[in-house]
Each structure stands twice: as structure tokens, then as C-alpha cells.
């Protein structure tokens, strides 16, 4: 029995190198190069053209149960081999078993089975980023576990249902389309760090350079935090230049060394720009075990005063990062998750949570209402809190 890939405790770019970035307008794209290219894990795109996808998260395809609704332009199909031999990239093949398609005319819906679904012995289909987003939405989805008197009837019976979050598609982000078009893909490139107005928007890594080439344009179809849409509107091209100190150079060999140093400086600099994600502690959850690889989703610690990301990753048993895709949460999204986690940690007791957050109960109630969780509380509780304000 081979050792299983570990759960991610911190996001690290193990097995990858950072190359100097390419800037176009307010968008900075940092190429990630793989040191050792293997063929035993491949990823490919499967396009969906329906207007809406309903993902059945539990039970049968068409049956009552928890559903995830979103526009899903494409899914990813991962194929692997357990013994290190080459795997084929399968995605574009027609797959009739991938859920059911409904609707005629202008509106179409696909109902799909689960976020990650095995399709063959060594093949798995999953919905990129939606997997991570679903994990984020499902945080404390059940609602109050103790029926404290402040909670509305709805909160105690159906929990947070329906829980929604907003995001924007890549083509809404100003300049992203052009930036991706003019981007020059490196030979060993398997991923990118995408910055909008110098803020990390997303990290994307795939196992193989050929897969990356095929999936490069999907960055435009992916969804991003609303924050980045606003950043994109106001972003301007930044000028950063590395230089060679000519006092250190007295021969061509020196010049070569200094150039190497300049290149390395760019890598370090980009790594520092992305500390909001990399090197931070993660909470991870295993989704699927694929031979020596493991698909997992994660979130950073959801501290509202810092930058937070959710994402999904595939890791090899040696800890090398094979697949990564992240989503930057906006401040409001982080706040909502933070409030829920604080409530849950105190068994949903408002008084105890207020003490924990060092504020009065009324303030906490108003805070919950502002965050969009007013529907969890009884109307008179909200009114009383508002009156005493």
C-alpha cells in the first residue's frame, strides 16, 4: 500500500518555480514552472453550455435534498495512473452520463451528480472552484443546534437555507481578457498567480504543461471575488524594475551571475506579494482519494482583518502540488463566515458570542443583520436591537 498524500496544512508551491511576471494594464500574471514534469496525472476541460447547473449534493440525481445552483461554464476531468505510467487527458470526450439536461429554447439547465464524481476506474469529474465555494457555503449550514429563543422558526427548522454568495466572471474584470491574450506561456509552465491591481486574485496550477496550455483561457470563464471587479476598474499599470548593480561586474561571468540574481529577485518578490495565501495556515478537507493523489478543499483561517482565500488542491504523496485553484473572498464574505464560526463555537448562544467578540448583544444582533443573517433572528429581537441603538 502506498503512502497517502497528506492534507494541506499550509499552501506551498512545492515542486514549482516562480518566473518573472508579465504585466498588461492593471493585471499582473506570474508564471509558475514545474521542475519535474510527470505524465501520470492529467487534467482536461469539459465544457457545459447550459445557463444553470443544479448540483445534487446528496442522494439521487432528481430527488429532494441539498442542491447547489450556479452557472458552471466548464468542469475538469482528471485522469491518473497509480503506477507512474502516462495517463490520457480525457476531458473533451463526449460524456453522456454526466448528469441530465433539461429545458428547451432560451433557458437550459443541467442537473449534475455531486461536485466530484468518479466516472471510470481512474477518472474523476469535478467542478472547479464550485467545489471550494460549496464547502464555503456549507459552513455551519445546519444553523443553530440549540433552539435558543432568539432564533426564528425558519432558522431552527431549515438552518441557513438558502445560503448565497456573489462572484463575478473573469470577463467582467477590466483588462483580464487582453492580459490573458497577450500572455506568453513558458515552456514548462503549469500555472499562474493572477494579480489584479497587485492584489492576489487567484492561484491556478495544473499537473502538466500541455494541460495548462489548453486551460489558459478558462481563467476568463472562472469566477472571482466582487472585490477584484472593483479593483480592476481602477487599476493602473505599475512600473517596477529590477536593475543590475554594475559595480559588481567585471567580466561576462559576473554579468551572468547578476542576471541570475535579478531573475531570482523577481521570484522572491512575487512570492512575497502572495503571502496572503501562501505560508498561511489552512483548514483542509479531503474530497477524493485518487490513487497516490488526493483532492481536497481548503480555506484560510477566515480572520476578518486579513486577506482570505478558499480553494481546492490535488497533492501527490510526496507533497508536490499538482492542482490548485483559489478564490479570493471579499471582506463581507469573510465577515459572514467569521460570524457563523464564532456563533457555532459558542453553540449559537448570542450572549456568549457577544462576550467573545467583546461587544453587547444588541451590537451583535445588528452586526448579524448587516451581514445578511437577519432572517435567522426573530423580528422582535431585531426591532429591539434597532430601537436601543
Amino acid at each position: 500500500m502506498t503512502a497517502h498524500a497528506p492534507l494541506l496544512e499550509a499552501a506551498e508551491l512545492r515542486g514549482l518555480e516562480l518566473a518573472p511576471s508579465q504585466v498588461w494594464g492593471g493585471i499582473r500574471i506570474v508564471p509558475l514552472l514545474r521542475r519535474e514534469i510527470r505524465e501520470d496525472l492529467r487534467l482536461a476541460k469539459r465544457s457545459y453550455d447550459e445557463d444553470l447547473m443544479v448540483v445534487s449534493l446528496d442522494g439521487e440525481l432528481i430527488a429532494p435534498g441539498v442542491k447547489y445552483l450556479s452557472y458552471v461554464p466548464h468542469g475538469l476531468v482528471v485522469s491518473w495512473s497509480a503506477d507512474g505510467t502516462a495517463a490520457a487527458a480525457y476531458g473533451t470526450q463526449f460524456e453522456s452520463r454526466d448528469g441530465k439536461r433539461f429545458g428547451k429554447g432560451p433557458c437550459t439547465v443541467r442537473v449534475a451528480h455531486r461536485m466530484a464524481r468518479r466516472e471510470d476506474k481512474n477518472r474523476l469529474r469535478f467542478l472547479p472552484l464550485h467545489l471550494a465555494m460549496e464547502g464555503f457555503l456549507a459552513l455551519h449550514f445546519g444553523g443553530p443546534e440549540v433552539a435558543w429563543s432568539e432564533y426564528s422558526r425558519r432558522a431552527t427548522t431549515t438552518g441557513l437555507d438558502p445560503r448565497t454568495e456573489q462572484s463575478v466572471p473573469g470577463w467582467w474584470i477590466h483588462g483580464l481578457e487582453d492580459a490573458l491574450r497577450v500572455f506568453e506561456i513558458h515552456e514548462r509552465q503549469v500555472g499562474v498567480l493572477l494579480f489584479v491591481a497587485e492584489a492576489l486574485a487567484s492561484a491556478f496550477v495544473v499537473p502538466h504543461p500541455d494541460d495548462y496550455r489548453a486551460l489558459h483561457r478558462t481563467l476568463l470563464e472562472d469566477f472571482y471575488g466582487t472585490l477584484l471587479f472593483h479593483y480592476g476598474l481602477h487599476a493602473t499599470a505599475s512600473r517596477m524594475e529590477a536593475t543590475i548593480d554594475e559595480r559588481n561586474v567585471s567580466s561576462l561571468a559576473d554579468l551572468r551571475r547578476e542576471l541570475g540574481k535579478m531573475r531570482a529577485e523577481w521570484g522572491t518578490f512575487h512570492a512575497e506579494m502572495a503571502t496572503g495565501l501562501f505560508g498561511k495556515k489552512l483548514r483542509s478537507e479531503r474530497i477524493y482519494r485518487a490513487g497516490p493523489f488526493q483532492l481536497q478543499r481548503f480555506a484560510t483561517d477566515l480572520n476578518p482583518s486579513e486577506e482570505n482565500h478558499i480553494g481546492e488542491a490535488m497533492v501527490r504523496e510526496t507533497g508536490e502540488l499538482e492542482y490548485l485553484k483559489t478564490f479570493r473572498l471579499s471582506a463581507a464574505q469573510t465577515r459572514r463566515a467569521f460570524l457563523l464560526s464564532q456563533l457555532a463555537s459558542q453553540n449559537w448562544n448570542l450572549d456568549a458570542t457577544a462576550v467573545l467578540l467583546r461587544q453587547s448583544k444588541d451590537e451583535l444582533v445588528r452586526r448579524l443583520e448587516k451581514a445578511g443573517f437577519g432572517y435567522l433572528l426573530k423580528e422582535h429581537v431585531l426591532q429591539a436591537a434597532r430601537r436601543r441603538h
Binding site: 518566473a19 497577450v182 506568453e184 561576462l252 535579478m262
Partner: protein, 496 residues
């Protein structure tokens, strides 16, 4: 007396002129990889107006500087549009330059210039005289009347010209009315009714008739072959293959850059199959381009950018890459020792495709280590692995390792950057010159010393005056000739 003021004016004038000529080497107003056609058009139009308004004499002299056809056409129309502003002393030279430049343009371009006079409503005595003289000196006006019917009609009506022989009847009286004495016109008339007659017409005209008579494409291509120009044959190679016929083409007769463009459109596997033919064709094309400039360059290294951005745009497919490849072939024939450094690295030049990042610094270091006298960088100037890498390497090398300037580095840029009104530069240590066709390489190298800002305005003026003199020199009949002294300039530039 030279005051500070006048020296500043001179510096500005030199910078403006260098920028303009450089732009005119590269820009064609078409879409590029990094910018759209509209931006390019606005940018180059502004430059033309600015230079015309401020330095009229030098603007006219640019016609002799080796600028590309698109910009020559622009300069001619702009000069003709504003004739009344020409000082009396310059009139004669300007008129002679306009006419010489118009005559040197490829036929279709020259007719387009004449047609654009009508579109822009330019109608003055000089414009009419230019059109009249141009038409009176054509060798085969009947052929051109057939091939450029609308343009010729536009030019004659606009300039109120009387045409000799049956031309008037053919263009204006309607071809159905009568039989023609001129065989070509008669065939044209017959081609409306008889299938056989169309094979006597030029290809572009016959193509319309083939559609009218519903002649199968393969049959048409096979029979019209004799009437096709080389360019047409080149363009239709793939069509012919699709139609399972062949168009005989001697690749050796195709121009250098054209040949590279054609080969780049072929899949790599197909290129490998006809390796010997391709190499021979390149050899012939390079020698033809160098025919009148046999003097050789010394130890030359070329850094050739084949990054993804060299794939050009939908309007200029793979042009930057083709220019790089053609330059490489030309240099191989023109230098005593030559080495090509492709980036990203490439072992077999025949397999070149536009892919990957732009790392100019590494090959520049390799070229310096090889000990080249002249290093040419053919790139669109966008450097990203690392940004400013080559700029820094060149700067430090010049300052620290080569204070005597034994090695010269020149950047040739096939792409015009609309935002900066110039081909994009790699860094201040490397002079940048625009380049549209690899065949013009030696002219561009001669110009490179002005691009790095070391030569004063007077030298630039002398340079232009010399080229004007050469252009207006009475010549024997036949094609314009490339001058041997261009090679001297290039060698001189290499030694600078």
C-alpha cells in the same frame, strides 16, 4: 553662432525626424499583436501631420530614406494635398521626389495613391501633372487598365486626362458596344460569353469570370497557371493542394520575407520533408537581396525572438517571426561568421514556431560570450523573462566591459508601438530601428547610428540629402537598383 536655444531646437528636430523615419520603417496601420488597427492608424497619421507641419523639406526627403510602401503613399498624398505651402526653392526637389517615389511603388500601391487623391478631394495642378506623367510613362497601360480598371478610371476622371487608343472606349464607353482592336480588351469582352477566353486574362480578373461560368476550381487553377504572378502562385499553393492539382512554383524566385511568411504557414512536418528545397530557396533569395551589395559583414550574431508575440495579428500573421527568420537567412549569406541565437532556444531553424516567453537576456549574454562584432536583436521589444534583462545586460556591458565600443548592438523591430509613436525600444543602451522587410536590413543598419542619438542633425540631413541625390539620379531603364554604398554604410555601422 550657435546658441543654447538653437542647439535644443536641433536636438528636438533630430529626435523628431529619427522617430518619424523609424515609425515609417515599421508601421503599416494594421493590427499588431499588442495593439489594434485603429490605434496604429491614429498614431501614424498624427506623426505624418506633425512632421509635415514642422519640417516639410525633411518630410519630403523621407521618401528617399527607404521607408515602407504604406508610408510612402501617405507622404505622397500629404505633400500633394498641401502643395501651396511649399517654399518656392523646394518645389522642384519635392516634385521630383514625389514622382520618383510614386514610380518606385508597386503598381497596385501607386494606383491606390492616385485613387486616394480623389477620395481626399485633392485636385491641384501638380497632382494632375503627377497623374498625367505617371500614366504616360507606363509600359503596358492596356494590361493595367484591365487589372486596375476602377482605380485607373478614378485617376483619369479626377485628373481630366485623355487616354490614348482604345483605353477611353474601354474604360468609359462600356465594353459591350464594340469589338476591340487591342487583344487584351477583346479577350475581356469575349470572356463574358466564352469560357475559353478567360484563360488569356490576368488571374485576378479571370477569377471572377470563372465564378460566372461556374468552372470547377481545380480545372480553373490548372489552366490559368500560366497567367499567375509568383505571389499569386505562392498564395494559392494550399488551395491547389486542396483541389488536388499543383501550381508549379520555383521557391527560389520568391522574395526573402515572403518566402519566410509562406513557410511559416506550413506545418513543421511538411517543412522538414522539403528541407533541401527550402534551404536552396533561402540561399537564392538572400543572394538576390544582396546582389548589389556583395561586401560582407564580419562576425555577426543575431538574437531572434520567436516568443508567442511574434505570431503577429490576424492582419499580419506571423510577420515578426517571418522577418526574424528572413533576417537570419540574409545574415548567414552576408557575414563572414554568423550565429543565430533563437529565444526560446531552437536547434533546427526549420522548425521555428511562435511560442513561449521572451528571454532576450540569456541569448544576448551568449552572443557576447561568443565574441560577435555586431549583435542584431530582432524582436518586438516586449521583454518579460526577466523584464529589462537584456536592457540591463547591454547597459552594464557597455559601461563596464566594453568602454571602447568594440561590439555594437542594434535592435531591429518589425512592430510599431502606437502608444509611443515608435517601434518599442528594449532600453536606452540599444538603438532601435524599425524593419518591415528583411531585404531592407542593410538600409536600416545604415540608419542605426541616428537611432542611438550620437549623430547630430547635420549628419542626418547629409544622409538624407545623399539618399535623395541617389534616388533622383537619372537611371537606365529597368527596376530600381540597390546601391553598393548601402553595404558600406552597414559595415560602417557595424564598426561604429
Amino acid at each position: 553662432m550657435v546658441t543654447a536655444d538653437s542647439s535644443t531646437t536641433k536636438r528636438i528636430e533630430r529626435e523628431d525626424m529619427v522617430m518619424f523615419i523609424n515609425a515609417c520603417f515599421a508601421c503599416t496601420g494594421q493590427k499588431e499583436f499588442y495593439s489594434d488597427a485603429h490605434g496604429q492608424g491614429v498614431s501614424i497619421d498624427f506623426l505624418h501631420e506633425y512632421i509635415l507641419g514642422n519640417y516639410r523639406r525633411l518630410y519630403a526627403r523621407c521618401l528617399a530614406a527607404g521607408i515602407n510602401h504604406f508610408n510612402k503613399g501617405h507622404v505622397i498624398t500629404n505633400l500633394l494635398a498641401t502643395g501651396q505651402l511649399t517654399p518656392k526653392a523646394q518645389r522642384e526637389e519635392e516634385g521630383a521626389l514625389i514622382f520618383a517615389a510614386l514610380r518606385e511603388l508597386p503598381t497596385q500601391r501607386a494606383y491606390r495613391v492616385l485613387e486616394s487623391l480623389r477620395d481626399r478631394k485633392i485636385n491641384n495642378r501638380r497632382a494632375r501633372a503627377v497623374a498625367r506623367r505617371f500614366l504616360s510613362e507606363r509600359n503596358d497601360l492596356a494590361f493595367e487598365a484591365l487589372k486596375y480598371r476602377n482605380k485607373l478610371r478614378a485617376a483619369t476622371t479626377h485628373a481630366h486626362l485623355a487616354l490614348p487608343g482604345e483605353l477611353g472606349k474601354f474604360l468609359f464607353r462600356g465594353w459591350q458596344r464594340q469589338r476591340f482592336e487591342t487583344p487584351l480588351f477583346e479577350k475581356f469582352r469575349q470572356a463574358h460569353y466564352a469560357k475559353e477566353a478567360i484563360y488569356e486574362l490576368p488571374y485576378t480578373i479571370a477569377e471572377g469570370f470563372a465564378a460566372k461560368h461556374e468552372i470547377p476550381r481545380d480545372e480553373f487553377l490548372a489552366r490559368i497557371e500560366a497567367r499567375m504572378t509568383i505571389e499569386e502562385k505562392l498564395r494559392l499553393q494550399q488551395t491547389a493542394k486542396r483541389e488536388t492539382t499543383t501550381l508549379d512554383l520555383d521557391l527560389g524566385r520568391v522574395g526573402l520575407t515572403r518566402l519566410a511568411i509562406y513557410l511559416l504557414a506550413l506545418p513543421v512536418s511538411e517543412r522538414a520533408k522539403s528541407r533541401a528545397v527550402i534551404e536552396a530557396a533561402f540561399q537564392q533569395a538572400s543572394l538576390r537581396a544582396l546582389r548589389r551589395a556583395p561586401r560582407r559583414l564580419g562576425r555577426v550574431a543575431a538574437i531572434l525572438d520567436r516568443s508567442f508575440s511574434s505570431s503577429g495579428s490576424s492582419e499580419k500573421r506571423r510577420r515578426p517571426l517571418a522577418v526574424a527568420w528572413a533576417t537570419s537567412q540574409l545574415l548567414r549569406a552576408a557575414s563572414e561568421e554568423y550565429r543565430a541565437f533563437w529565444t526560446p532556444r531552437l536547434d533546427d531553424e526549420l522548425q521555428v514556431v511562435a511560442q513561449g516567453q521572451s528571454d532576450l537576456a540569456t541569448p544576448l549574454l551568449e552572443a557576447l560570450a561568443w565574441g560577435a562584432d555586431l549583435i542584431l536583436i530582432v524582436s518586438d521589444g516586449y521583454e518579460n523573462d526577466p523584464p529589462h534583462g537584456a536592457a540591463e545586460v547591454a547597459r552594464v556591458f557597455k559601461n563596464r566591459l566594453d568602454p571602447d565600443r568594440k561590439t555594437s548592438i542594434v535592435h531591429l523591430n518589425p512592430v510599431f508601438d502606437a502608444e509611443h509613436y515608435a517601434p518599442r525600444s528594449i532600453g536606452s543602451a540599444i538603438p532601435t530601428v524599425g524593419l518591415r522587410d528583411a531585404e531592407d536590413l542593410l538600409t536600416m543598419l545604415g540608419f542605426a547610428r541616428f537611432a542611438d542619438g550620437s549623430a547630430p542633425l547635420s549628419e542626418l540631413e547629409d544622409y538624407l540629402a545623399e539618399r535623395v541625390k541617389r534616388m533622383l539620379r537619372p537611371r537606365s531603364q529597368g527596376a530600381p537598383q540597390r546601391d553598393p554604398s548601402e553595404a558600406d554604410e552597414a559595415v560602417e555601422a557595424a564598426n561604429r
